[in-house]
Each structure stands twice: as C-alpha cells, then as structure tokens.
Symmetry: C2
Subunit: 381 residues, 2 copies
Amino acid sequence: MIDVETASQIFKAKLTFNAQRTAFDIKADRAYPPFNRVMMDGIAVSFDEFQAGRREFLIEGVAPAGEPQKTLKLMTSCLEVMTGAPLPKGTDLVIPYEHIQLNAGKALVTKDLDRQRFENIHAVGSDCKMGEVMLKAGSVVNGPHAGIAASLGSKLTLTQSPRVMIISTGDELVEVEETPAPHQIRRSNVHALKYSLELNGFSDVTLDHLKDDPLAVADHYQKHAKEFDLLIYSGGVSKGKFDYLPNVWIEMGVTKHFHEVAQRPGKPLWFGTDEKNKTTVVGLPGNPVSSLVCLHRYLIPGRQIHVRLSEEVVFKKDLTYFLPVVLESRPDGALWAKPLKIKNSGEFSALAGSDGFIELPAEPSFFKAGEVFSFFSWRHF
Amino acid sequence: MIDVETASQIFKAKLTFNAQRTAFDIKADRAYPPFNRVMMDGIAVSFDEFQAGRREFLIEGVAPAGEPQKTLKLMTSCLEVMTGAPLPKGTDLVIPYEHIQLNAGKALVTKDLDRQRFENIHAVGSDCKMGEVMLKAGSVVNGPHAGIAASLGSKLTLTQSPRVMIISTGDELVEVEETPAPHQIRRSNVHALKYSLELNGFSDVTLDHLKDDPLAVADHYQKHAKEFDLLIYSGGVSKGKFDYLPNVWIEMGVTKHFHEVAQRPGKPLWFGTDEKNKTTVVGLPGNPVSSLVCLHRYLIPGRQIHVRLSEEVVFKKDLTYFLPVVLESRPDGALWAKPLKIKNSGEFSALAGSDGFIELPAEPSFFKAGEVFSFFSWRHF
C-alpha cells in the first residue's frame, strides 16, 4: 500500500493525456487596434490648437465607425467622431460630447480640463503587435478566449479529447431504467463519472457494462484496449473473492503501477498502463463516493485550491481522509470548507449539496477549525 | 445615470429566467441502502457469539454482491461476505479478511479488537428513507447529482434553457472568416457572449447580425421578440449619432428600466422588458470587454465570491471599476486577485489569462493590497 502523495506522483508521471485545451497558439493577424481608434463619441481636434487656447471649432463633418479614415482639412476645425471610428488624419485629441456644446455648425468646449495628446484614443498597436501570441496553446477555454479567437479570424481549435471508456462490473447492478430487486442496485457510478468527465473537459466518453466473468472481461479488453486512451473500471478491485479484475489486467499485459492507497474512501484503487496497446487502466472502487473522489483527486484534479476548514474534524485512522464539503466564500476573502455530515461513505446521496472534497493528511488525527487544506472541486474553475 | 447596486437590484427584480438547473425534486424510490449492506470483504457472524468469546467459526458458504439475502444456519458458524452483499440473516457483525485466517473450512479471528454490533455494515435506510428528497429542484448539476439521479432511476431533467438571441449591430463589423479592411473589425463579441452563456448553463443561444438601419432593426424586433426570452444587443447604445437602438426599442413598446450605469467599463448599458411580447431586452456596449463584464455582472453572475486584492489600485473616477484579474489560491486559504495590466479596455486580448474581474466601488479612489472585493468568474463553480 502506498500513500496519497506517491500515488499522485505516479499518476502525474504516467498519464499521457489531459482535458481538452486550445490546440494552437493564436497570433494577432494585424496590430490591435488596427488603427488609432476613437474611444468616446465627441469631436476630434488638433491637440496643438487646443493647447494654444482654441476652444471653438468649426465642424467639417462626421466620422462614423466602419468607414475609412477621414482627413481634417483645416487645423482650426474639427470632425465629429464616433466610438470605434478611425481617428481622422490631422487630429490627435478627442473631446467627448459631455464636454462641449454644439451650435450653428460649431463645437464649443465648455468643460475646462487639462487634456493630453491622444486622450480618448486607443493607439494603433497598443494592445498587441502583428504576430504576437494572443492566446497560448494549452489554455482552458472561456468566453474571452472565444472572443479573442473570433476577433483574429481564428477557429478556437481544441486538442482532441482523450477517448475514455468507463466499464461497470458487478452482477448486483441493473440498468437505470430497471426496478432493482431488494439485493440489487442501479448502475449509477458510470453516469456520475461520465458527467464529471464531461463537465471538466473530456468530451469523448463511452459507457459499457460487463458481467462478473473473467473470460468476458479479458475478451472485452482485447477488443477495446487499442481504441481508448483510458479504460476506467468501476468495481471489482477490492479484496473480495470475486474481485478478479487486477488478475485479468495483468494477464492482458498491463503494467501494474500500484494497487491500494492509504486513503479513505478509495483504498482499493488500482492503476496500470499498457505500453503495447498505448492505453491506461484505472480500477476505481465500486463504492460511489470512492469512485468519484479517486477520479477527481488523481485523474482530473484541476487547479490547486487552498481552503479553510470551518469546524474541527477528528479522524484517527492512519489514512489520508477525503471529506466532502460545502464551500463558502466569506467576507475575509477566504474559502471556508464545511464538512458534510456523512454517516457512511457508501451512497451518492451523501454528496448532494457538496462542492467537492478536502484532503486531510494521514497525520495528525485532529484537524482544527481554521486550518488550511487542499480542495478538489466537482466543477473546475 | 444609476449606480451599480441599483442596476443590479433592477436586474434581479425584472429578470424572469435563470441558467439551467434541475427541474424537479428527485426523491428516493426506496430506502438507501435498500438492505443491510456489507461494507468490507470478510465474514459475517453473530455479534453475541463473538462477544461471548467465540473466535473460530465454521464457514457455511459465500454471500456475494448481487445475490438475494442468505441465511446463517448455525449461530456458531459464519458466511464469507463480499462488499455490497446483503447481510445474511442471523448475522450482525462483519469481520474483514485482514483480521482473520482461513484454514480447513474455518475462519479464525486473529486480530484482537473491541468490536461493535453492526460494525462494517451499512444499515438499511441509514442514508435516506423512501420518499425523502435526495436532490432539490433548482440545483446546478454536477457529477454526484448525475449519480444520485441514476441510482434512483430518475432522469436528470433540467429546466428549459432560456431562449437567447444575441444580435450584433454596427457597419464596421465583418464576419470572422473575412479579412477586415483597416477601418473594420471582425464580429467577435457575439461569439464571446455565446461561449460565456453556454459555459454557464444557457444552452439555447442564437446569433444574428443587423446593419445600422433603424427600420431593419424594428422589423427584426417585431419578427423575433416573441420567440426569445432574452434579446441581447451588442453595440449601438452609446451617445453617438448612430446609436439609435434605444429609440427603436422604445418605439417597439419596450419598457426602459435604465440607460447608463456609473461604471467602467460598460457605462452605456441599457435594460428594458417587453411585457406584451414577454421578453427582456439588454443593450450591451459594443466594446468587447464592456460587453463581457456586463453579461457576467448582471445577467449570469454566479455565486458570490470574495477575494483579496494582491496589489494597490488607484482609480480616481467616481465610477464603479470592474478590473480583470488572475486568481491565485494561496496557502493562507484566501483567493488573491492580481489585476491585469491593461492599457485600454477596448480589446479582448486584455482578458487573455484572466479568470474574471473584481468590482471596486466608486468610493474611495485608493484600493489597498489585501482589501477584499467581490469577484465574478468567467466560469461558474
């Protein structure tokens, strides 16, 4: 049995895939802004004229956004300019409508202010130069990124999603649509795992189910190992008489990296890679909470988040303890984690209302309110 | 011009839709667990026998998961039990394999421990009773919720997504695939807004574009107002000569709730509702950063998050200041917000690498490092 930190390091070293990210650098196709861009509706004038004391300007015309650059004919006059318009040639100061009065074809500056050359003008190339990288490959996509790509005429190309198959095992499982007999339960883990993967950047997830039959599992593995980057099995990795999966994987040529981690829940976790078929095999415990915790802790961990424990927790076993929590952002700027009252780790219901879980190390056994621990979110951010 | 808090209150009062959530309460279809469920692989015995001093038990057979409940024939013997199996009748203690030796059809308890009645047994109904609400209507869905619904045989039915149309206006805009002339820019805002909406629970988003022609806009509004819950216009709401949209909406019968908010960026924000057509009209400023900030601040704000400013900021205008930041979770348990160096608010590129923005109130003008402010995330969590 290895500890959580070691398990985490092995996963980091051996996993060859990641959630979907931007596939390529996106570079500026021209300078931005592509011209000296008017930033306020108002008039464009010569700064030198203004500085020399001129406050009244004859209006030569209007420069709207979307039209080619205009030219000011007389240094002493002005053009009305709209936000987004190219700054007219011969002008280098924009005075907003709020500071002027328009009367009989003239603009009178009524607000007495110190003004700067290029005020209210977004200078050509001030955001970025042509060819500059605007969005690096490997970014997790959000709304602004979609805007950047569109503004540069680029497609927001994402890396190919790893091909994931989630396989439930266990003869006690029936389909979600079926009514289980008293000794049966519905096949729900795979749906929780799939939703979690899809919510966090894995879009190519297939589900399958196998009866508790080692030969059928071996046959299934031989058929599918090459097609997927990751095979996640749910159940069948404990110490039980019918937990035959680890033996099947080893017979199939999978290199075992570890079996069992000193953690609760999730102790029976199994991890291996198959170099020949270029795939990764993860055996998650069949317990619903365990399987979700292992998925989020090791396979799709997201960014590192530190949170404060909001109440004392006692856990005397010499195991790392993953504890579901509700997150609360308090006015002190800290994220506080309130442990959920869970009687047993067995059922999903224990997780309703939780935002994720915190990791309490194997030592010590007493965790004080206010201490800081790592948090893993059901939804990345 | 109203302040940010007032604008926020008006939005809250007048918006009649929300991001997609669970549509119905999901109730337990039976008690959970549905039987006394074995939690460890090992042997099931009578607690009274164990308590009376018995340490050796004849093995009567095996109780796997997925088979109906077995019955122990002799109080003095045991059944091997697998995790997930129904606890055999006549037993009320599970002793894990790690604590026993198996030899010649007998199990010998080798680990000397105080044991409790029902140890390693997940009692029937201990997670929830039949009919109990397991997942409330109105939940933002995550992986555990998908698992809960599946385990109860329920579909994870979501509320219908509000029907949103985003309409860009402005003759300076060309399509993303086109190469803009020097005075033109690509139509990118709508893509940033659509991606942001989809990332945060709005799945029914349509795009459209209109030339700067009041009659065409009025005609378009009459055709489409009834079909959408929300019409978001991008551009055309400033004080410019060609910012005719507010007049068109009022002519169309839209009730204006406000125009202009004391904020930077996003001052020209316009908001109204059309009771006759049962739709909401929002005019976002055409500036890319402004439009995204207004969308996230007022229309899809997410949960309230407090963060600490990581460096001093000076902003002397009497406006609420929305400042893009990079979030950093520090070992003190706090989220620290590092302002991005932005020369102008005009371009999306300023937002690359940001996680969202913070809201700095209109007063004071000096914001110290370490002070706490509200944060709005590009991705909800």
